[in-house]
């Protein structure tokens, strides 16, 4: 394997799953950005999408359900040279991990967060996810989901996210471009990726999305926050994909005194004279 080629291992996904094209696009994006696989850390929690780190030749951290973000931001804090990518599902990111989602937007550590948003729980075989449509029937919601679906893009913009995008697994060329922008963005970048689940979601299918999604055109101004929030609410007959909102903000590393010097935390030399001085304060 050459240094910057990312290969895919055998997977345990259903044939026809949107995860395949997302993984393919991710490999492509990393290769086109000339990323060294040994400096890439893929992080996930638990779920079907969360198996992605197991299927790509890079460092991998498959932690607990919902807890990918805390582990990922801390790894980046420890070693800023790592390209840290959280690649996982809507249940992991917005359900079990909802609290971490909100607060890591505020933290703004320079990581990338790809959410395979298939609006359904796949690994546990087809229950409603936080983004499932109202009325969607599942084994656990037999009379239809009565809860309002979460709009993660709108939430991320409202919480202060500096890079918030939406993409579709069926438009690979566009997805690769969005992924590259998200990885290059200096700060926390969210890409909510619409994706069909061939086994459990009979509503939001490939053709459902294909008929509705449209790319934002060059005239769209992603720096206008109020307009971006309007755009984020556009969901129905037409679904916009692209960078919905972008703004440059100071990152966690830039704001933190210890990290702002540019030396990775793990490379800072030990200094026993400081400890000795601290101890002397107690005499």
């Amino acid at each position: 394997m050459s240094t910057n080629s990312f290969c895919t291992y055998d997977t345990a996904w259903c044939p026809g799953c949107g995860n395949f094209s997302i993984l393919e696009c991710l490999n492509k994006a990393l290769e086109e950005l000339n990323k060294d696989p040994y400096e890439v850390l893929m992080v996930a929690g638990i779920g079907q999408a969360a198996k992605t780190p197991q299927y790509i030749s890079a460092n991998s951290f498959c932690g607990l359900h919902g807890r990918a973000l805390p582990a990922a931001v801390a790894a980046k804090i420890a070693n800023e040279k790592l390209t840290v990518i959280v690649d996982t599902g809507d249940g992991d990111s917005y359900g079990e991990g909802g609290n971490h989602f909100i607060h890591n937007i505020r933290r703004n550590v320079d990581i990338t967060h790809f959410v395979h948003d298939n609006q359904i729980y796949g690994l546990t075989k087809g229950q409603a996810s936080p983004t499932s449509a109202e009325g969607q029937v599942t084994d656990v919601q037999p009379t239809g989901n009565i809860n309002t679906p979460l709009n993660p893009v709108l939430l991320a913009i409202a919480a202060g996210g500096g890079f918030v995008a939406k993409a579709f697994s069926g438009d690979k060329e566009h997805l690769i471009s969005i992924m590259k922008q998200a990885i290059l963005y200096n700060g926390y970048a969210l890409v909510d990726i619409l994706q069909p689940c061939v086994s459990f979601n009979k509503v939001n299918t490939f053709s459902y999305y294909s008929k509705r999604v449209y790319r934002l055109d060059d005239g769209y101004d992603a720096s206008d926050k109020a307009a971006a929030m309007q755009k984020a609410m556009e969901y129905g007959d037409r679904i916009p994909i692209g960078v919905i909102y972008q703004e440059q903000k100071r990152t966690f590393h830039e704001k933190n005194k210890v990290l702002s010097g540019g030396v990775p935390l793990i490379d800072k030399p030990a200094d026993l004279s400081t400890v000795q001085r601290l101890a002397d304060e107690f005499i």
Binding site: Y38, F61, G63, L64, I77, N99, L265, I266, A279
Partner: protein, 556 residues
């Protein structure tokens, strides 16, 4: 040995006065031990600090008082019964007490005359120094560390006025501890972590663990470590694990309630074999319990917390020295065995100030490098080895891929559902305990080697047990010894079995309602305690209380 109490309502400056006094008394040569008893409120209520000082090492508090500094009438009412006949009650003239031991001084009026009512605490400091025959040598240097420069002179004047307002009452005793350190258990723990090369600390505020985070945050910039206040304890521990995976020495800390939220990730540290130090500064539970008080009731919880089975180590901190050195050791063991190591402290130890010999930094193996031995051929993060310890590399620092997985996995770190692999991986992880058991530290033995009665304790009751054993052996009524556990899980058994064999009575002394150490000992060794002293009112047992209970007949 002397013992004074400073009491009043929250917000009256008890903590500052106690902190200044303890430092001045230590500078003058005394060994000082200060305990802090406070309510879960910011203003009002009744709080007090006990400052005990003498010329030999003071290991715990005492309930017999030589003096009370009463900032309100309630303090006099609550504590006067514990005051010796020769003792004094220092208070403002406004207080209504008619107790003949009272020394009433117009401290508030004097402070106002000096130009700032807030310096009355410094007047009290001056009075105390004079009563105990102290000089004013160190006052300037100490007070300077507590007040802003512009308030220094007025406070020094206040101390001098207090000093001149009374006559000396107790003789100054010549101690040798002027050059020792005085610090709280939580600060000793935090300093130990910094000395061990801590780079990342994540926590959510919770009493009584917050002082650890506060100290690390205060010293973080100069020590080159990042302190992050997490959104919850689940995030806190997962962050610490993520940072550790990426090569930073990492720690998280909380009290029992927060630890409840951390348990799933504790298992992640065990399963993915990522070093982690987790601190539990215990307080009475269950649930919110008594937030600002003390207990030792999380032992059985932390030794079994999280689903499934994985190797872990639990170290109970007995005193301030332990808080420093055992924290360093916790990092070394966590890294060597790639396991979670849990440090059990409690409110009593965490908030109490103790006097300790200056820490010896030459003993510290700083930032032990992670193994670079990847063996021949393909790098396997979870390679099977003789002792179960696999080569751990740091992602990004090697041309190998480093994996971590909470699923059962193979040697590469990939998901597996193979039954054979499952057994091999479980055995590999559990095998690490065998080697760990070889380097366990036996409990500390105190008292008479040929004891009839063996007292057993763990963690912070060390100080009170040490004092009780001394008192009991001086009564010539039986012979007493004690074993106090620091390393507690896995349980070191050698010395316990040896001492239990010859003892007629074995009594466990614990700050909990069910005798958790006694249970653990019985489960692991079959040794049964013949009596027990259990205290769970949120207040630490004293040496005198232990003696009293034993004399009243726990030995039956």
């Amino acid at each position: 040995m002397y013992n004074i109490l400073i009491g009043g309502a929250a917000g009256q400056g008890i903590e500052t006065t106690a902190s200044i006094l303890e430092k001045l008394l230590k500078k003058s040569g005394y060994n000082v031990f200060t305990t802090r008893d406070f309510m879960s409120r910011v203003r009002g209520g009744h709080n007090f600090s006990l400052i005990r000082f003498g010329t030999e090492i003071v290991t715990s508090h005492s309930d017999r008082l030589d003096g009370i500094i009463a900032l309100n009438d309630e303090t006099v009412e609550l504590h006067k019964d514990k005051l010796k006949d020769t003792g004094f009650i220092l208070c403002d003239s406004k207080l209504t007490t008619a107790d003949e031991r009272a020394i009433k001084i117009d401290m508030d009026a004097m402070a106002k005359a000096l130009g700032n009512p807030r310096v009355s605490g410094s007047i009290a400091v001056g009075v105390i120094l004079k009563l105990f025959g102290e000089q004013l040598d160190h006052v300037r240097e100490i007070i300077r560390t507590f007040v802003k420069e512009e308030y220094l002179e007025i406070n020094l004047k206040a101390v001098a006025e207090g000093y001149d307002s009374v006559e000396k009452r107790f003789p100054h005793l010549e101690g040798k501890f002027g050059d020792w350190m005085i610090l709280s258990g939580s600060k000793a723990l935090a300093l130990g972590a910094i000395a061990a090369g801590l780079k990342f600390y994540s926590a959510y505020p919770m009493s009584p663990a917050t002082p650890v985070m506060e100290y690390l945050a205060e010293k973080g910039d100069e020590s080159g470590l990042v302190v992050e206040q997490a959104e919850d304890e689940i995030a806190a521990i997962n962050m610490a694990i993520g940072a550790s995976f990426a090569g930073a020495r990492a720690m998280t800390g909380t009290s029992g309630g927060g630890f409840c939220l951390m348990v799933e990730a504790l298992g992640l540290s065990g399963m993915a074999e990522i070093p982690l130090v987790a601190v539990d500064v215990q307080r009475p539970g269950p649930t919110t319990g008594l937030p600002t008080r003390t207990e030792q009731s999380d032992l059985k919880f932390v030794i079994s917390a999280s689903q499934g089975e994985f190797p872990r180590m639990v170290i109970a901190l007995r005193n301030h020295k332990d808080s420093f050195y055992q924290t360093i050791r916790a990092f070394e063991l966590a890294e060597k065995y790639q396991i979670p190591v849990i440090l059990l402290s409690d409110q009593y130890l965490g908030d109490a100030s103790g006097t300790v010999e200056p820490f010896d930094f030459s003993l510290i193996k700083h930032n032990q490098p992670v193994s670079t031995d990847v063996a021949d051929g393909e790098y396997l993060r979870y390679r099977f080895t003789e002792d179960g310890i696999s080569p751990r590399l740091i992602p990004g620092k090697t041309k190998n891929f480093v994996a971590a997985d909470s699923d059962e996995h193979d040697e590469r770190g990939w998901i597996t559902e193979s039954g054979d692999m499952r057994i091999q991986m479980m055995d590999k992880r559990m095998k690490k305990l065998e080697k760990l058991k070889e380097e366990l530290q036996e409990p500390e033995f105190l008292g008479d080697e040929a004891c009839d009665t063996l007292l057993l304790g763990w963690g912070s009751v060390y100080g009170s047990i040490a004092e009780a054993v001394k008192l009991l052996n001086s009564t010539q009524n039986g012979t007493y010894g004690a074993l106090v556990f620091g390393d507690i899980y896995p349980l070191p058994q050698k010395l316990l079995k040896e001492k239990a064999l010859s003892a007629k009575h074995i009594i466990n002394i614990e700050q909990n309602a069910t005798g958790q150490l006694a249970d653990l000992i019985r489960e692991q060794t079959g040794i049964t305690c013949t009596g027990s002293i259990l205290k769970y009112d949120g207040r630490q047992i004293s040496g005198e209380e232990i003696v009293e209970k034993i004399q009243k007949g726990v030995l039956s």
